[in-house]
Symmetry: C2
């Protein structure tokens, strides 16, 4: 068999996806594998075991990022493929895990075929891509690319008060290697689309040309805690009154920015949160996405103006704090071409598209030529226990990754 006809073992890939999904499995068929939890440790251990069994060496850096390496004829640079094994609190089986295990499957396929590559292959499992336990998301690829300092990342705190640094040590994944500066020539990431476009067009895989800009905000509305009964409505400083006006204004403003704007309030809460007390504080999070920075600027300005007006109208103190900004990204032309060619080689119909979600590849693209491969996902649902990509779709993603890797790494003797 020549390299061109090579295909991955779809059954082995699927079985490993299912075995990995048992770690942190939820009753509704999803996965809860929060970063640096006991479940995350078990997932990491299993991944390392599989990589070693496939003849790879495994190293860990000071952010807990795992690097599994398959030797090439040359010492370096390596061709990298990676994603993440952590999940949302009620996440699915495929988000992250597919990218890591498709890369492992590509290596297994090379092993089975006795292929030696010119350049080495490295598979990466990035720590805390989701940001669900420690905000913001994509922290470790961010440290890798210089977007955050190591100390800053160690200090991120979860709801219980534990820091990322403490939890890395607790599960035994604070490695000795420095974070960043590995010798890489190109980078690829297979991921489920998490959106409806490929499914709607009947395509198994997509060629990703870039990623939307993402901004995260904390909105805090302060009023006065008073008893629910005696205080007349017009004498209250009730943050919930401000809340509904700010939300209504933001949804309206988002709709005015056209179909590519995404405005999401993922979390909201009241303090002290007692039934018979007007809350003193109501807070909520905003996740804002759009492919153009100037549109994000306009939406941010609109949000601040809406908050100011609602605060004035109801005598409330409303603050809008931007806590994270990930500008729009354009991927590398040569890597995009490798993915496109690989899809053609395998005979998969495909299209170019833009990622609406953030991925580790956003940060990686700052320091290494990068592209991504999207796999069709049922109903575009993700960050949900019902998330699903078929065995055929997962296999197609791994096939395309295999050939993109071989294109960049080169087969010795071909």
């Amino acid at each position: 068999m020549t390299g061109r006809n090579l295909r991955v073992n779809g059954e082995r890939l699927w079985n490993r996806l299912m075995e990995m999904a048992e770690i942190g499995a939820t009753p509704k068929g999803g996965v809860c594998r929060l970063t640096l939890s006991d479940e995350d440790k078990r997932a990491r251990d299993l991944f390392a075991e599989w990589c070693r069994a496939a003849g790879m060496t495994v190293e860990v850096d000071a952010m807990g990022n795992m690097f599994a390496r398959r030797k090439g004829r040359r010492a370096g640079p390596a061709i990298m493929a990676g994603s993440h094994l952590d999940s949302q609190p009620t996440g699915g089986k495929f988000d992250g895990a597919l990218g890591v295990l498709a890369a492992l499957e590509a290596v297994e396929t090379m092993n089975d075929a006795g292929i030696e590559t010119d350049y080495p292959i490295e598979i990466v499992n990035w720590t805390n891509e989701e940001g669900a336990r420690f905000a913001p998301a994509m922290v470790s690829s961010g440290v890798y690319a210089g977007a955050f300092s190591l100390d800053e990342a160690y200090g991120f705190t979860d709801k219980s008060g534990a820091t990322l640094g403490q939890e890395l040590e607790r599960i035994g994944y604070k490695g000795a290697l420095p974070v960043g500066g590995r010798d890489w020539k190109a980078s690829f990431e297979v991921h489920i689309e998490q959106g409806p476009i490929l499914e709607r067009e009947g395509l198994p895989v997509g060629v990703v040309t870039g990623v939307q800009g993402i901004r995260w905000y904390d909105v805090i509305i302060k009023g006065d805690e008073v008893h629910a009964g005696p205080t007349p409505m017009d004498r209250r400083r009730d943050p919930v009154r401000g809340l509904h006006e700010v939300l209504a204004g933001c949804y309206k403003a988002a709709a005015e920015q056209g179909e590519w704007m995404r405005f999401t309030v993922g979390d909201l809460k009241a303090q002290p949160g007692s039934r018979n007390t007007v809350p003193g504080v109501v807070s909520f999070t905003v996740d804002l996405r759009h492919p153009q920075d100037e549109v994000l600027d306009g939406m941010e300005q609109a949000m601040r103006e809406i908050a100011r007006k609602a605060g004035d109208a109801h005598n409330l103190d409303i603050t809008v704090e931007r806590i994270w900004n990930s500008p729009p990204v354009a991927f590398d032309e040569a890597c995009i071409a490798s993915v496109e060619t690989a899809a053609q080689t395998c005979g998969y119909a495909t299209r170019k598209l833009f990622s609406g979600a953030g991925h580790d590849s956003v940060y990686v693209a700052r320091v290494v030529p990068t592209s991504m491969i999207f796999v069709t996902s049922q109903n575009g649902i993700s960050h949900n226990e019902a998330e699903y990509s078929s065995p055929e779709a997962c296999k197609a993603g791994a096939d395309v990754l295999l050939h993109a890797l071989l294109d960049q790494a080169g087969i010795v003797g071909e």
Copy 2:
């Protein structure tokens, strides 16, 4: 000194209020003494110690309600005065504690003056008035009056999953006495107004003639959990979109019901509560109050209609569940007269008013002739660490209680 000229020791009352407020004291000068917590146990122990030192016997029933008894010339029935020692999570020093300690101060004053009453006096500390830890509020006076069964009350669960019954046992306050059926002739409760009326009119105390009706609801809005990035806004089933429309509608409907309507959203939350996931579920609580049942009926109907429309408009499942209903209450004419006469005896300017908040007296009034005495509270603020009633106002409340008790209990030899 004749009974008519008798006044309480305001300094002793104030010192005890301050000593009690040290149990569960918060940095901002308030109190966090959630029912059946370790702090609640310490407050109960201190109260029992003070009562025994004042020559009273202390008994506990199966709901943890505490009964401190001062003998009368007759065996019974007793004249009761009570309130509660539990607090909101960020509550004040006076809500509840004043009613219990004013009653103790009245007894101490009788002791100091060597007064024997014809009927006995009983001071009650009711378990879980606030409902902040175990909903609903006023549970133990409710069991006393037959509004809940004992088993039902034991099963109420806090956020951590602990039941009321378990926690009663844990702190050692599940007493042997049956709940209910004590031999009482009349009942009084001193309480801070928790509203602005007395302060606005410059009155130290008020005569309470009844209590507003109170209804509690859980509103649950169900949509679909999806990733914040890729899913277009018009393909989402986003519960936050429903939330702001329902809230806007409810505030508008509440305003249409006139100045006595109180609509409060005390708690709200999103599930799973992750920044980059559209929540699958958003839920909030509603506390509704008005002196007329038919107006509450109208508002409830309006809420259901608003929820139905918002659900239809945004393809969301919205449920409005009423979890508690406390109808409006009219207090006993003779007890109201005792309070009015007591205020005149002491020379305090006063007025009749209606309570906007629920109190244990609402349930007690179902089985015993009852009235309440309100004490002016600064800015009408309560359920807040800034809650404040002056030493003079607290003393005035205790003076009026003393004379209402003496009026009903009768002084031997006068």
